[in-house]
Symmetry: C2
Subunit: 312 residues, 2 copies
Amino acid sequence: MSELIEKLLTGDKRSVARAITVIENYEDETEAIIKEIHKHTGNAHVIGITGPPGAGKSTLTDKIVKNLIAKGKKVGIIAVDPTSPYSGGSILGDRIRMQDLALEPNVFIRSMGTRGYLGGLSKATHNAVKVLDASGVDYIFIETVGVGQSEVDIVKTADTVLMVMVPGLGDDIQSIKAGVMEIGDIFVVNKADLFGAPRTATEINMMLDLNQNMKRRPPVLMATAGKNEGIEELVDELEKHREYLAETGELTERRLNNTRMEVIELIESELRKIVINHTEEEGRMKKCVEDILAKNTDIYTVRDEFLKSIRG
Amino acid sequence: MSELIEKLLTGDKRSVARAITVIENYEDETEAIIKEIHKHTGNAHVIGITGPPGAGKSTLTDKIVKNLIAKGKKVGIIAVDPTSPYSGGSILGDRIRMQDLALEPNVFIRSMGTRGYLGGLSKATHNAVKVLDASGVDYIFIETVGVGQSEVDIVKTADTVLMVMVPGLGDDIQSIKAGVMEIGDIFVVNKADLFGAPRTATEINMMLDLNQNMKRRPPVLMATAGKNEGIEELVDELEKHREYLAETGELTERRLNNTRMEVIELIESELRKIVINHTEEEGRMKKCVEDILAKNTDIYTVRDEFLKSIRG
């Protein structure tokens, strides 16, 4: 294990891949890995990319990443598809177009689907981000296929969330509403050469102007990823947002909050195990529910007795 | 409170309505009510009715209930719409047709939507069932609008689950698959006068025959609720299932299992409160997450410290 971590910290791609596989499958080892690499995390700029299907997120990610590696940066990409049963380096639909990136020495790509991750896909993704972070990449992109609740849960802990829109969403833009719009730090209308792009941008701007509670008004950009247009401006905005996060203390605030949520989830997950172990021990629960049904006691009294013995 | 419960136990409809309103809104009072009525519960036959939108569940429920009250039975109905923000006796769409039932002295009807129930709609529904049960009704119907996961969660704790199907579902019948089909104790093809009804029944029978793990093969009936056809047979099957549950010990088994789940959820819910109170006390959590970000410690070490102090 320590050899794996040593090599991972030097940026060895095979070790990164192996560490992520471990995280996907073994709970105890995950804890050991995350503990060991913790000191080496927190340096990468984590960017979440989300938006409706067909918005061209993969192509956009591809062009942004190529722009960054041309500038000598190291990049990690986690392509997340909460609806796909495949994972572990498999190729997800459109992402076949991204495969030439996988040959770049300074790019690491990993696909994650829904295949039984311990503690859920969201937790597995966040742990994979930590592994990539510790491996020394400058940027980590979490790209999702859709813009539903599970995608929001996955990308909302990123430092910067890039929301990719596309002309011709029509009334569908209304469905990408509160809760989803709120997590966007930068908006981009991709396929800006299509009819209706300026109107889409106007609609997004109007929706953003309705929200008066924002600390910072997200910019709305135009891009045509297929023609490599608007990519430089987008990379500039990502950089500007990173500076904004650092200067205002917002980065620390976001990370403190994410860490808080992570710790609470870990505690609850352990407590759940304790409850199950404790209540099932020596058929204790069986006896109690029989007593409840026989009206000798009730659910709240049983709950209180269990709570007392769990804490005692 | 004790006066409310006294009147509730005599079957007073206004007291039943008030008790359910309390359950929807106040946590401590819910506990007091459920504890007090516990000895008077477990007598009603609880029937969950679910199926795809447009299957005619409301009309079917209406006819079954009318059949039962003609036989001198007392009936409670909880109409659940997990997608509706309305609740508390409001009229939900098609259910307006059921409103003449509300005038019957031996029928109690309540609608429940998604309006911020403490602990969720499912828990609120189950507590409302207990109140109706204690009020002395013979049957309790939980009718849902759809057949999604939240509907399944709500009806699966019923003694008998009636799955309402309709001709012309076409390939959609495939989407009402594993996990949903499994909870049905009785299947009925409603609107059986429509074209394709026998084929739908055949398809359901084929799906049921594929499942070899069933203790009991659910029957598939035909009905045309709008014309009051097939209702008597359906009521007979409900009775037969009740007898089956009693004779085989399955009723006790199901109720023991439901009670077990209920107790575990109550324990977890209390532990969650303890975690939040404990970690937020004196800014303990704030200090810890700052230490994690400063690399003085890590999430797992913090989790273990909190677990120790929560249990100690």
